[in-house]
C-alpha cells in the first residue's frame, strides 16, 4: 500500500504538471501564432488588449467559456460531446514519457515511443466522431478528410521512428536522449537526415496544420469537423490541436535534436528542450502563414508516392548498416 502511494504521488504531480503545461502552451502559442501572422503580413497583430496584446488569448478563452453551448437538433448527443473530450484527454497522457530534463520526466516508460504513437491515434477517432456526431455534411466531409490524412501520414511517421529505434535498440525516450549525450555531432539529425525531413513533413500532416489543414479548410468546408461546435467544444479542439503540436515537436527534438542535451558538453537542462521545441513550433507557425493549402490529391500523393517509399528505403538502409 505504501509503495502504491509512493508511486501514485509523482504520477499525480506529473498529470497536474502536464495540464498546466498544456494550458500555458495553448495560451502562449495562440498569441505567438496571431502575432507571427501579423508580422509576416506586415501588420502588428493583437496590440491593444493588454500591452502588445498579451492578454488577447486569455480574454478569448474567457469569452469562449461565456458563450452559449449548442447541440444541433439531429446530432448524436453522446458522440457529439464525447469527441472534444476524447481529443483532449490523450494529450495529457502523451506528455508523460517525454523527458523534458534530466529529472523532469513524468514517467519513465520502456515503451514510451509506442505509447505516444498509440495514444496520439485517438485524435483521428475524435475527429471522425465529431464529424459523424454533429450530423452536418461539412462535418462529415472534414472528418473523412481528417481520417484519410492522419492514417496516411502515420505510416511514414512510424517508419522514421522505427529507423531511430533500430539505431538505438530501444523505445524508451530517456534512453534515446542519453545516447545523444555529448556534443552536437552525436545528435541523430546527422545520422538520419532523411528521416528528419520526412518526420518534419509528416508532422504537419499528423497535426492537421497548414499547408495540410484540409480537414478544416474554411474555403471549402466551412470549418470541417468542428463546424457545429460552439463555445468550449470548439475551444477543446483548439487546445488539443496545440497540445498535439507541442507533443510532436517535443518528440522531434528528442529523436533528432538531442533532447535536453546542449550543443556542447556539460550544459544540459530543460531549457535546451524548451528552445528546441519552440524552434520547431515556430517553424510550424511560419509554414502555416507562408504556404497556401495543398489540394487533397496532392496531399495524399506527397505521402504515398514520396514519403512512404523514401521512409521505407531509409528504414531498409538503416537496418542494413546496423547489421553490418
Amino acid at each position: 500500500m505504501n509503495e502504491f502511494i509512493q508511486n501514485l504521488i509523482p504520477l499525480v504531480v506529473a498529470v497536474v504538471g502536464s495540464m498546466a503545461w498544456l494550458a500555458v502552451n495553448a495560451l502562449v502559442l495562440v498569441y505567438c501564432e496571431r502575432k507571427f501572422a501579423g508580422h509576416i503580413q506586415r501588420r502588428p497583430g493583437p496590440f491593444e488588449v493588454g500591452p502588445h496584446g498579451v492578454l488577447q488569448t486569455l480574454i478569448d478563452g474567457l469569452k469562449l467559456m461565456g458563450k452559449q453551448l449548442l447541440t444541433p437538433d439531429n446530432a448524436d448527443r453522446f458522440l457529439y460531446w464525447l469527441a472534444p473530450i476524447l481529443s483532449m484527454i490523450p494529450v495529457l497522457l502523451l506528455f508523460m514519457p517525454i523527458p523534458y530534463g534530466p529529472v523532469l520526466t513524468g514517467m519513465e516508460v520502456d515503451l514510451g515511443l509506442l505509447l505516444i504513437l498509440a495514444f496520439s491515434s485517438f485524435n483521428g477517432l475524435a475527429l471522425i466522431l465529431a464529424g459523424w456526431g454533429s450530423n452536418n455534411k461539412w462535418g462529415i466531409l472534414g472528418a473523412a478528410r481528417a481520417v484519410a490524412q492522419t492514417v496516411a501520414y502515420e505510416i511514414p511517421l512510424l517508419l522514421t521512428v522505427l529507423a531511430i529505434a533500430f539505431m538505438t535498440g530501444t523505445l524508451n525516450l530517456t534512453e534515446i536522449t542519453a545516447q545523444q549525450a555529448g556534443h552536437i555531432g552525436n545528435w541523430f539529425i546527422w545520422k538520419q537526415p532523411l528521416a528528419f525531413i520526412i518526420f518534419i513533413v509528416a508532422m504537419f500532416g499528423e497535426t492537421n496544420r497548414a499547408p495540410f489543414d484540409l480537414a478544416e479548410a474554411e474555403s471549402e468546408l466551412t470549418a470541417g469537423f468542428h463546424t457545429e461546435y460552439s463555445s468550449m467544444g470548439f475551444g477543446l479542439f483548439f487546445m488539443a490541436e496545440y497540445g498535439y503540436m507541442v507533443v510532436i515537436c517535443s518528440i522531434c527534438s528528442v529523436l533528432f535534436l538531442g533532447g535536453f542535451h546542449g550543443p556542447i558538453p556539460g550544459i544540459e537542462g530543460w531549457w535546451w528542450m524548451l528552445i528546441k521545441t519552440y524552434a520547431l513550433l515556430f517553424l510550424m507557425i511560419w509554414a502555416r502563414w507562408t504556404f497556401p493549402r495543398v489540394r487533397f490529391d496532392q496531399l495524399l500523393n506527397i505521402n504515398w508516392k514520396w514519403l512512404l517509399p523514401l521512409a521505407t528505403f531509409n528504414l531498409l538502409a538503416t537496418a542494413l548498416i546496423m547489421k553490418l
Binding site: F47, E48, K67, Q68, E228, S230
Partner: protein, 181 residues
Amino acid sequence: MAAQDSVGHKEFLTAGGHHMDPPIVNVKLAQDILDVCRSMSLWPMTFGLACCAIEMMATGMARFDMARFGAEVFRPSPRQADVMIVAGTVTKKMAPAVVRLYEQMPGPKWVIAMGNCAISGGPFKIKDNYNVVEGVDTLIPVDVYVPGCPPRPEGLLEGFFQLQRQITGKRWWPVAAKVEG
C-alpha cells in the same frame, strides 16, 4: 408597389430561433468581466454580400488591421462567431440565408449593418425596387449602423468601438481628432 410587405420578421425569423436563456448564476462582477472579454474579442463571421465586403476585408488587412483589437478572427462557421457584419445589399433571395445564419449563431451575438444598402436599401430604395430588402433591420435586430457607400475601414472600426461601448458601457479607445476644413 408594396415591396417591403412581402419580407419581414414574420416570414423568416423562427420563434425562439434567437432566444437566449437568462444566466443561471447572475453575479454582476462576473457578468461585467465577461462583458469586457466579449467586447475585446468580437469574432466576426466570414460573410460578405456585396462591395462593402471589400472594405471589410481592407479593415482586416495591413493598413487598418482589425487584429489590433482582437477582432481579426473571421470564423467561417456561424457557431463560433460573435458578430455578424451585414456588409452589402441584402436581396430578397438572400434574406432567408441571412436570417438562418443569424439564428445559427450562438448567443450572445450582435449585428453590424454596414453600408447604406444594409441600413435602408441605399440606392436601391426607389419606387421600382422589386428585389432588395430595404434595411436588414426588417429581418434581424441590428445593434450598430455604419453609414457610407461603402463606409471607409475607419468607419467600420468606429462601428466596432461603438459596439464595444454598447456591450460594456464605456468607450475604450481615444476619439479621433476632428479635422477642420
